[in-house]
Amino acid sequence: MNIRIFAKRAGLLAAVSTLAFSTACSGGSEAEKAPTEKDEAAGKQEQVAFKDIGSDIRGSEKPTQQQIDEVNGTLNDTYLGDIFDQPIPSDYSAYPVEGDVTLDVWMAAPAEIPDMNKQQVQDQVEKLTGIKVNFITPPVGQEADAFTLMISSGELPDIIIDPGRYPGGLEAGLNDGAFIDLTDLIEKNAPNYNAWRTSDEMRRKTTVTDSGRLLGFYGIAPYSEWMWFGPLIKKEALEKTGLEVPTTIDEWHTFLTKAKEVGYTEPLNYGSSYGQIFTGIINGAYGVWDWTFMDADGKVGWGPAQPKAKEYLATMQQWNKEGLLNRDWATADFNQRMATAISDKTAIMMDSPDTMWSYWKQQNDIDFVGAPNPVLNEGDQPQVSYKNFMRTGSSAAITTQAENVEAAMAFLDFGYSKKGWEVFNYGEYGTVHLIDADGKPYFPADSYIYKDPDGQPVATTLHKYRVHDWPNIRDEHHSNPLIVAEGSYSGDIRKTWTEEMDASVTMPPITFTQEEASREAELGNQLATLRSEYFAKIIMGELPVDAYDKFLQEAQKMGLEEFVALHQAALDRYNQR
C-alpha cells in the first residue's frame, strides 16, 4: 500500500471515529460520511440525518425490495464511498423543492431515446428533487436548426442544455439577454456545484469566463478522461504480416505495404466525408496539427501552416498512389466506412476503440489492438492534440425567461451531488447497478445495461438506463458500459494512449469575446474550406504538392495572422483566469 493512500485512509478513519462517537449511530464502523468543511463552516442546520444503511447495501448482491426502495426513493447516500481524490459534495438541503415546480428544459436528446420525458433516470431525479421537468427535444439531425428557431422565436424555456450553441457562445447569449449571469447565485443556490468546481484548480479555471463570471453549469469529471480516438489495428493483420505494431512513419509504410501484399486491398481506412483526414494521427507526426495548437513556448500555431506540411502531404499522396488508403476516403459516409472496416479490405482504422469494440468485436468478432500515434524518428514520444480538461458531458444555462431561477439551479445542482453522481451515471439501483464492498456502484453481469428486457444493445441501453451526456459529474471510466463490460479492452487502449502520449500541444478550452467570436467564425470557416479543399486534392493527386505554396499564400491573404492572433489573445486571457 503506498503512503498516500495509507495517509488518506488513516485520516478517514479518524474522521469516521469522530463521527461515530459524536452521533453514536449504529454500524458506525462502516460509515464514511464525514461532514464536509463547508457545511461546518456555514453552520448548515437541519441537514436531514440519514440512517446509515452502508452495511446493508455495500457488497449486497441480492438487496431486498425495501432496500431497493430506500436507495432509489430517498436521498440517503450513506452507502456510497468516496472513491475520487476529492470527495463529492452531498448537500441536499434544497430537496424536495417546495411548491409545484415544473421546468421546461430544451435538450438535443440522443437518437436512442424516443421520449426524453419518459427517460428512467430523469423520472427518478424528478422524484428525488421534487421538481417536475418537461423536456423539449428537437428532431434528431435538426438540432442546430431547431435551436436557431427557438432563439429566433424569442420564446425560451427555463433551462437550455448545451447553451454553447448560441452563436458567439455563452457570453454572447448573456449580452443579448438570453441567459442569466449566475456569478452571484451559484454559492447560495448551487452548493454542490460550487464545492465541486472549486475543489480543483483545473475545474475552477475551465468553468469561469475570462472576466471571472459564472455563466453555466458545466459537466465536470473527477479526472481528465482518457483520449478516445486513435489508430486501431486488426489482430489478424498483425499475425498475417508477422510484423510488430508500427511506431514510426517508415514502419507504418512497411506495415501497410505488407498488409496489402497479404490481401488487405485498402489497408488504411483513412477517413470519410464526415471528416477524418484531419485527426492529428498521421499529420501530428509532422507537427501539422489539424487546427490551432500550442507550441513549446505556449504560443498558438495553426497546424496546416507548419513547416513540414509539404512533407506530410507528399507522403500521403504517395500512400494514396500506392493504394494504401481506402479509395473512397473523401466521399464515404458513416455506414460505408463501417462496411469497409469490417470487410477484408481494411487492416487499420483511425477511430474510437469504444465504437470499434462494438462494430468489430461485439458484432463481428474481430479482435484488435491500439497503436500509438506514429512518430517521425525512432524513439520520439508520440504526440496527440487531444486532452480532456476535466470538462465532459454537457453544459446548461438558465434563461432570462426562467420564472423560478432557484428551482432551476437546484435541479441542475443535483447532478453534482453524491446521489446525483450515482443516479445519472449508474441509473437505478437493483435492476441496473449494485454497490460493491467499497461503496462504488457497478453494473452486475445481469444488469439491464447488458441484458435489456427489451433486447436492445449496449449502445442503446447506455442512454436508456443511465444518462451519458448531462451537466453533472460524469464518471466515464467506471460507468461507460462499453468500457467496463466484461471482456472489453477499449478502456485499456484509451488508458494506454493517454499515459503514453504527450498531449502538451492541446489548446485549453478558451473563449472569445462577442466581437472576436463572429470574426473568428468567419475566418475559421474560410480557412477550413480552403484547407479541406487543398489538402484533399493534393493527397488525391489532383494537385501537385507544390500547390501547397499557393494554399499558404491564400490563407495569409484571407487573414491567417489575424486568426492566430485572436486565438493567442484568448489563450493569454485564459492563462490569467
Binding site: G154, T331, A332, E533, F535
Partner: protein, 322 residues
Amino acid sequence: MLTLQKNKKTGGSAVSERPRTAAVIKKDVRKNWFPYLLAVPVLIWFIVFCYGPMWGLLIAFKDYKPLLGFSESPWVGMKHFIDFFQGPYFWRVVKNTLLLNLWGIGFGFTAPIILALLLNEVRNKMFKRTVQTITYMPHFISLVVVAGMIHIFTADQGIITQALQWITGKEYSSLLGYSYLFRPLYVFSGIWQSIGWESIIYLAAMGSIDTSLYEAADMDGASRLRKMWHVTLPQITPTIVILFIFAVGGLMASGYEKIILLYNPLTYDTADVIGSYVYRRGLREASLSYSTAVGLFSAVINFGLLWMTNSIARRKSEVSLW
C-alpha cells in the same frame, strides 16, 4: 408640388373616368361574387406570407439579434453585402450557381418536354399510364433518401460507377470525388427526380390542342414526326415560353439541401453554390442578417433576369407574363 399640379390638370378626366371603372368593377363583383370569394384566401395568403414578411428584408442592413428584437438591433448599413462581395469565394459561388442552373436549363428543362412529346404519341393507354406512374414516383421520394441512393450507386463499386467504367474503359473511384462529374450527377439525378412530374403540365397543354389541326395535317399527308414538329410543338410553345421565363428568373437561385448532401472538399470548386456557402457561413452561425443580405442580392439579380427574359419574349413571340 409638381404632382399636385399634375393632378389638378388631369383631374377632370380622371373624375369622369373613375366612376365608370368603379362601376364596372362593382357590377362584375356582384355578378361573379363566387369566383371573387374563392380568390380571397389566396390574396390573404399572398399578403400574409409574401408581402407581409418583405419589410423583414430590412434586417439585411442590420445586425439582427432575435432576442433584442427587430427595432433594437443595430443598423450596420451595407456591411453584410460588402462581406459577401469581398469574400474570397464570392466569384466562385456565383459562377457555380449560374453554371449549375444553366446545365439545369439545358438538360433539365428540355427533358420533360421531350418526354411529354413522346408520351403524347403513345396510343396504348396501359403503356402510357405505366410510364407516367413510374416517372412520377421519384418526385415523392425524400431528398435525403435520393441523396443516399446517389451515394450508394456512385460509390467505389456502385452500379453507376461500374457502368461508367464499362463505357469509358477507365477506372473510377467513388464518382462524387470528381469535381468535373458533379454537375452531370447533380443535373441528371435531378432529371430523374422530376421529369415525370414536370411533364404533366405539357401533357395537359397537349390535351387541349384542337384535333382538327391534326386532321388537317393528316389530309396534307404529314408524317407523325411532321405533326409533332408543326402542330404539337407550336401549340404548346406559349406554355414552354412561360416556364422558360420562370427558369431564367431562377438562374441565381440555389437550393442548398441537395448540394450539401452530395458535395465534399474534393468537389467544392464546382459544387459550392451561393446556397451552400450561405448555409456554412450564415445559417450554421445563425447569422440571419448575412443570409438575408445574400438572399436579397440573389433575388434582385433574379428579378432583373426575369424582367429581361420577359421583355425579350414579349417582343419575339408575343407570349409573356405581363
